[in-house]
Symmetry: C2
Subunit: 403 residues, 2 copies
């Protein structure tokens, strides 16, 4: 059985997951929009997480890291509107209280409840609103879409995907939802992402699988070069599909990894496409690097470059800025061997500007998906990064709105 | 004798320097603006340089690095409009030819002529226009101002400064000019900067003195996070002041270093103030860091942060973005000890948002000079970085103009 996309899939597509969300009044903007959600597995499962490497970490990040030391979890409580970051010692108390309130509401062990927050930094969580809101959440096996919407802040669309695959002949589902928009830069390049699966896995299997999937997805996205205090990526695997537990190094592990990668890449790309002010999804592919680290560094540097992003915004085939961005990445690069293309238009080859068709090049930069390709001709390694253009709207938005 | 700013100073303020410039027709925009210049010392002198660390290096950078191995130079030929970068093997031939033409025009050894270019990447130098232009340049001891103007590209004002000091009782002058505007990020954070002095120095003295001065000036500037292919900082010391040559570790060396630092910081700040689309000069001061590297990393990360720059553009006291930018710098930082202030307004102290006066904070962010101060309370080290706000004009400009 190959990988199959689940129609209208969400984090409640895998068996045994339910979710729901309400507007609890945490968001000061967007009255009536969902801002508090719950995700529950019928049974406790294996879990793993990856979090911001920012030295300024929000309280829920600290809470989750501690909880996930056990490798087990059963539920997630999440809010948008307030980040619960930079509020002093009460931050951790509020995160713990949020977990306890959710645990009581769901009748699960508070130690198995993960907590995530996104929104304004420096504002304390309105705990009474959260307590009241949690009581009102109705969970359903179709509630994944609500969860996807309740984590949105400046996102313009919900990001969710589910895929089905066969593991030892048993159908298994892997799903995820994420929110992005601003303060998106590796590592981590997501603000919040929740993955669910009904696959049974061996203890200790998930952390490495998640790290691998993140390496080629969330870690390769840049919207604006700013790293959040709240970045959280967690995966819950409840085993209810009933497959033989997946162990490292098996063919089943490989198939599962592909599914996990697919879900993470889909979500990561959606985050780039929906970057604040973005009008274009930019995919930067680097080929021919000496090693993987160089390939990743070059791809990320090009995706991050303000000048390159501005040029793409204006559909300007400005390969010089791409070359300069690539050259500053730290990755090994010989300008005399470098090729640069946008879409099908090769602009620069072996260190020389080609006499390219300007119209064709501009056309390749004019759609809402732009492909930039660099071939370093130094070795066998490649990498892909995702970003977006930099628009006047990004600046207007971020100079007038307090996040 | 203390440091004294020379009124209307320029790179020809030190004794024995002359300069001049013409419009040679290299710039396709700005018809009639100066775009080709010469700087000459009456006698060969000591010289040192610092260049872009971008892997994609323009040909003049390669030329200068090779020439400066001798530690000697007598003249500089410089053009704006074309960067002589990414044009294949002819780039180095053209740079060498430019040096030979200038040497013939000035009757000096071509091996003592430094070459610098700034402008569009991927366009070959129009060598005939350069040859014809060089013939028309009239050098004068007041020509420094022309040199400052001829290196401008998207700069809106010329950047130049000269200071006088006493070395062993003898008056000595140190001067400089620079151009910046876009693609400005450490290391190097200038596109072009030329320093001149009539001080006599011991052989081998200049490279370390220049590196020190650059560390706290050009290396601490970020306009847009993009690093140029052409960054060049050179200093020429012709010894015509007649002082006892300055040797390392002496009081004279210290005085000279202070003058060099002053000149470099003045120029670096001007570059930040004149960043593309910038409306504000932003000075980020970090205090209380455990070590100097941490202080520098935090200061630079805050100066670079797009979200912080947008907030400053909108005069929004968004200390959360400043905290997040500081936390992602890699420098050690404890959010629970961190203080953040803008101007006189303390916004965040010891990990907690203060109940600050929003009007006062906005006022501190509303002038054309903004001071951001972070105290890490972890140690004795400090650093300062300079940047600018990010405006809609930056995006408009860089999405419509091919550099």
């Amino acid at each position: 059985m190959d990988l199959e996309i689940v129609e209208n899939g969400s984090v409640t597509s895998p068996q045994g997951f339910s979710a729901g969300a309400v507007y609890a009044g945490i968001k000061s903007y967007g009255e009536g929009k969902l801002d508090l959600g719950l995700l529950l597995s019928q049974v406790p499962g294996h879990a793993a997480g990856i979090f911001t490497t920012n030295r300024v970490k929000a309280a829920p990040v600290l809470w989750c890291r501690e909880r996930l030391a056990s490798g087990r979890a059963q539920a997630v409580v999440v809010n948008s509107g307030v980040a619960n970051a930079c509020v002093g010692p009460r931050g951790l108390e509020d995160a713990a209280q949020m977990a306890r309130l959710a645990a009581a509401r769901l009748a699960v062990d508070p130690g198995l409840v993960l907590v995530a927050s996104t929104g304004k930094i420096g504002v304390p969580l309105p705990m009474e609103k959260i307590a009241a809101g949690l009581e009102r959440i109705a969970l359903s096996t179709d509630g994944g879409h609500e969860l996807a919407r309740c984590i949105m802040t400046t996102d313009t669309f919900a990001k969710e995907v589910a895929v089905r695959l066969g593991i030892y002949g048993v159908p298994v589902t892997v799903a995820g939802t994420a929110k992005g928009a601003g303060m998106i830069h590796p590592q981590m390049a997501t603000m919040l992402a929740f993955l669910t699966t009904d696959a049974a896995v061996e203890p200790g299997f998930l952390p490495k699988a998640l790290a691998r999937a993140a390496a080629d997805s969330f870690h390769m996205v840049s919207v604006d070069g700013d790293m959040s205090t709240n970045d959280t990526l967690v995966v819950l695997a409840n085993g209810l599909a009933g497959n033989r537990p997946i162990a490292r190094g098996t063919r089943a592990a490989k198939a599962f990894q592909e599914a996990l990668n697919f879900v993470c890449q889909r979500l990561a790309r959606s985050i780039a496409r929906d970057g604040e002010g973005a009008t274009k999804l930019v995919t930067v592919t680097v080929l021919g690097a000496k090693n993987r680290a160089d390939a990743r560094a070059v791809a990320r540097a090009v995706a991050r470059s303000n000048l390159t992003k501005c040029a793409i915004h204006g559909a300007d085939p400005n390969w010089g800025r791409i070359a300069a961005a690539a050259g500053q990445s730290g990755g090994e690069l010989d300008p005399d061997r470098l090729d640069i293309a946008v879409g099908e238009a090769l602009l620069f080859q072996g260190g020389l500007r080609l006499d390219f068709d300007d119209k064709q090049a501009r056309a390749a930069l004019s759609g809402n998906e732009v492909a930039v390709r660099l071939d370093l001709h130094l070795g066998p390694c490649s990498a892909t990064a995702w970003g977006c253009d930099l628009s006047e709207e990004y600046v207007t938005f971020n100079s007038q709105y307090t996040t």
